[in-house]
Amino acid sequence: MQCDWLHSGPQLWLRCVHRQVRLRTGKQEEHRGWLLTVDPVSHSVVLLSFREDGASVRVVMGHAVKHVEVLQEPDQDMAERLRSFFHPPTTVSLDPEELLRRRLAVCRWLQKNRLPVEEDGDELRVAGVLTIKAPYQPEDCCSSNQIILDRIQRLVRLQPDPHLETIQDKLESHPLTDSRLTRT
């Protein structure tokens, strides 16, 4: 793990994650910190160090890394701090009724915008290529197609608040006044 840092595989790097390392970038320049991750594409090393007034992150570019040495394992406390560092904020769990209401609201909104959407258990499947998981916010959309993902996310973001159901919506949902049914 010394000069072959660049050539060690991702498995070795993953094993070093969360350990305290000392890193040399040549010319007597040294950095110490807790290893957060190593980018497999650019080999950049991300180190976290704590100060009295907070924490700072240093990213050392892969081409500048000359020598890496593992110093110590983290203790329980530190391990927990490192683990929770880049986690996305945990979503508040909602009761099933609220989730169902939201799911139906999003489903109706997408159908109103002429998109084929079907319910798949707790998830919504749009056009067979995008999935929306609970709690059906724009961040919960998953797809392997970037363009569709972007479009659907924008659409979900634009969804009007279901609590403010307009007169228009009420008229549209009534069979006698629904313009789609009375169109010639």
Binding site: G9, T37, V38, D39, P40, V41, S56, V57, M61
Partner: protein, 128 residues
């Protein structure tokens, strides 16, 4: 040092034939020769290949979250010849070859928008 300067050099446009991590794209070969391929051991053993791929994706996801945490924050870039500049981080490209930054404080003034080449950067730091 707050005098804004006009753009000195326009950035290069996107290359039409580069897609994701394509190791055969001319841009990648020219600029990013050090990217690691699959290890020889993993190439022959599918189970090890899967493990290696899993390790890669975990590491890459963490790195991307780190970049996300950095957006719109003040970042200090430590470059060659002991040059240190401060800027507001915007985005990185997929191969981590260029960083888009705003309000780059240079010795000759403040660049409103700039592209920093990652080969010029030794390390960069930001506070969380």
């Amino acid at each position: 040092m707050a005098t804004p300067v006009s753009v000195l050099r326009l950035p290069k446009g996107p290359v039409p034939n580069s897609r994701g991590f394509d190791p055969n794209s001319p841009r990648f070969i020219a600029l990013c020769r050090t990217s690691i391929p699959t290890s020889a051991a993993a190439q022959s053993d599918p189970e090890q290949l899967q493990e290696e791929q899993h390790a890669r994706s975990v590491l890459r996801e963490r790195f991307l979250r780190c970049l996300l945490a950095m957006t719109n924050k003040k970042v200090q870039f430590h470059m060659h010849e002991k040059v240190n500049v401060e800027a507001t981080f915007g985005a990185s490209d997929i191969d981590v070859l260029n960083f888009q930054v705003s309000d780059l404080h240079t010795p000759i003034g403040v660049q409103k928008e700039a592209l920093i080449r990652c080969q010029d950067v030794i390390s960069f730091t930001f506070d969380v």
